[in-house]
């Protein structure tokens, strides 16, 4: 009986999955929102680069579809880091200049312990060279948020020891709806 009850209590009270959490490194905005910066070090954080007809597909041995159906679709997958350069999630970036769907650039960020964010970017970069975008949908911690994002490529950044010769930064400014404590 003790074994039966003990196992039941143990199964009920001890979580089967305990995800690793990094602290969220955010700066609070006057409107109650927060700014968070996600970093991608290039090339070390690249998992996939897929583009029909391209010679620089990644990883080596990738059998990217040659189907013309995908046209100029560029698919990239990265690990993403926080401001302290600790990996906190993964992300996909899809970009295309297709006339049928209209040109687009969008990101899906997946942070296992926190949720996912779906970001749509302006196709044309701003005069300062970065791209602006917005949060279209979110899950988990991002579910009720709205806000903007800035995508910027930093090319004058290099660290030979860590195999870094460039960096992508996604700077998000999200805010919860009025009355929401998030």
């Amino acid at each position: 009986m003790l074994g039966l009850v003990g196992t039941g209590v143990l199964t009920y009270s001890v979580p089967a999955v305990d995800l690793h959490r990094e602290p969220s490194l955010i700066s609070v905005l006057p409107n109650g929102g927060f700014v968070e910066t996600y970093r991608i070090d290039l090339p070390r954080d690249r998992i996939l680069v897929g583009l029909t007809g391209a010679d620089n597909a990644l990883p080596a041995g990738l059998d990217w579809p040659t189907d013309e159906l995908f046209g100029d679709l560029q698919t990239e997958i990265f690990k993403i880091r926080d401001r302290n350069n600790v990996v906190i999630g993964v992300a996909s970036r899809l970009a295309s200049a297709s006339e049928q769907t209209g040109p687009f650039i969008e990101w899906a960020l997946h942070l296992p312990a926190r949720g996912s964010a779906y970001l749509q970017m302006d196709v044309a970069p701003s005069s300062e060279g970065h791209r602006n975008g917005r949060l279209m949908a979110g899950t988990g911690d991002f579910e009720t948020l709205s806000g903007t994002v800035r995508e910027q490529f930093i090319t004058d950044f290099e660290d030979e020891d860590l195999n870094i010769n460039g960096r992508i930064e996604l700077i998000t400014a999200f805010v919860a709806p009025l009355g929401d404590e998030e």
């Binding site: 009986m1 003790l2 074994g3 039966l4 009850v5 003990g6 196992t7 039941g8 199964t11 009920y12 089967a16 999955v17 305990d18 995800l19 690793h20 990094e22 690249r46 998992i47 996939l48 897929g50 990883p59 080596a60 041995g61 990738l62 059998d63 579809p65 189907d67 159906l69 995908f70 046209g71 679709l73 698919t75 997958i77 690990k79 600790v86 990996v87 906190i88 999630g89 993964v90 996909s92 899809l94 295309s96 297709s98 049928q100 769907t101 209209g102 687009f104 969008e106 899906a108 997946h110 942070l111 296992p112 312990a113 996912s116 779906y118 749509q120 279209m136 949908a137 899950t139 988990g140």
Partner: protein, 230 residues
């Protein structure tokens, strides 16, 4: 001493009884019919191979029985993503014609509750359908049936494999009817929200290598979308 041994024996039997009760629980959720079967909205039906070696790319922490693919793909070994996998998959219609491309992120869920027969996985599909647009599908999957009816029998089998016929709706939420949430991105799907359901059909599984013959199906209900793939 004999009382102590009797107590240990009794506790072991109790624990074994509890695990057996949990494993053979007849009240386990067995959803076989898609909640979207009665939807009036346009339906996009995608099928795909759920065998990681047949995907364009599959990667995880590198320690599971499933081999990452291609060989030199980066593994997700960092602590924050060690319970995450990524698959890049061609999405086909029922005749095998390519319709689109999907990137699927899957992470073990902290909401997993074995006592409720719930082995939950949070997954997100980032999908591109040429000529139509882009979508994000967010879902909670329950892998309990898959573990109980395929993985465990394969491990118990002397040949370390399972063969049979398995079909389950894997989507468990977060929608009220156990459906996934869909957010449209670009093209025809811009600004659209909908629901989705993912199912798995398996015929063979190896306890040493993972899925051998397994297909997935993703049905997306998209109000107002102009679909040519119904």
């Amino acid at each position: 001493m004999k009382y102590f041994i009797s107590m240990l024996l009794g506790m072991s039997i109790g624990a074994a009884l509890f695990v057996a009760g949990m494993y053979f629980n007849p009240f386990t959720d067995r959803m076989l019919v898609s909640p979207l079967a009665v939807s009036d909205d346009d339906l996009l039906d995608f099928t795909y191979t759920a065998v990681p070696g047949e995907a364009i790319l599959y990667t995880d922490n590198g320690e599971s029985i499933i081999e990452t693919h291609p060989d030199r793909v980066a593994e997700l070994w960092e602590p924050a993503i060690v319970d995450t996998s990524i698959a890049v998959i061609l999405l086909n219609d029922s005749r095998g014609q390519v319709l689109g491309l999907g990137v699927k992120f899957s992470s073990d869920s902290e909401q997993t509750a074995l006592i409720n027969s719930e082995v939950l996985v949070n997954s997100v599909w980032h999908i591109y359908v040429p000529g139509q647009g882009t979508l994000l599908v967010d879902q909670i999957e329950n892998h309990w049936s898959f573990l109980r009816e395929i993985v465990v029998p394969a491990r118990w089998s002397s040949g370390d494999n399972w063969k049979g016929a398995f079909f389950r709706i894997m989507t468990h939420g977060p929608g009220a009817l156990g459906t996934a949430r869909v957010a449209g991105g670009n093209g025809n799907f811009a600004g659209v929200s909908g629901e989705a359901v993912e199912s798995l059909a398996a015929r063979a599984y190896s306890a040493l290598d993972g899925p051998v013959s397994m297909n997935g199906s993703l049905t997306i209900s998209v109000p107002q979308a102009t679909s040519e793939t119904e």
